[in-house]
Amino acid sequence: MKVRVYVTLKNGVLDPQGRAIHHALEGLGFGGVSDVRAGKLIELDVADGTADAALDEMCRKLLANTVIENYRIERVEEAA
């Protein structure tokens, strides 16, 4: 089973990389972008039936630093 974990900076945490990407977009002439936040996507292949609690623990113990980051877990339905 595939699981996607999205790790993003918490609101209010300054994101220098997002800001640099924003500036680069403006430099390329893309207007109308008011903000950019950069995050991470981590894809896991886990055993079927892996419990939500186990996935949550993986996020809290390693995948995200909850001092500055939020995470969201998404189970991916495999196309038949």
């Binding site: 300054l14 220098p16 640099a20 630093n65 001092v67």
Partner: protein, 224 residues
Amino acid sequence: MRSAVIVFPGSNCDRDMAEALKLVTGRAPDMVWHREAALPSGLDLVAVPGGFSYGDYLRSGAMAARSPVMRAVGEAAQRGVAVLGVCNGFQVLTEARLLPGALMRNAGIRFVCRDATLKVENSQSAFTASYATGEEIVLPVAHHDGNYQADPETLDRLEGEGRVAFRYAGKVNGSARNIAGILNEAGNVLGMMPHPERAVEPAHGLTDGRRLFEGLLEAVGQPA
């Protein structure tokens, strides 16, 4: 004084730290590989050195903080053993939650490599006892992720409890309240981005780091 330097794959200031400790304390530290589950007995100091442990994959210090040896370092810290984390070592200590907050990408995006003037904010700790409170010292900095951040309550608490050890005298990396180094609640764990081990002898160009190790020797060193 018995000391140990932790070595991770990707550490690159471990030898500098060992040389500085040997020079000041007269005794070479034990070099402890990250896979070790236990530290040598009778240690007065554990140093977590700078570098790019595990390639700084995922987040700076994240992998190193979960390595077997860090559990032993955490237990040593609990027992009151002095723990010094420099640069990547500071990042590892925050990731291991031995210190609060996090070190993020420098606000200016760029790697910063230069001498930085610091203000000693607290000279009561074992690490800073040989400095005077308010004294300005100069140490080299060399980092990409030195931008210290924590929530306002944590920052207020650090300041209120005298746990900010060093502050940058000017803007260096966007750190909240210009924090360069902090202590844990018990005062036996110090994390700092600047490199005292790279400023211990005249050939280094700077020598203000030497007193940090001399102070430690005085405070926690046992007679040989």
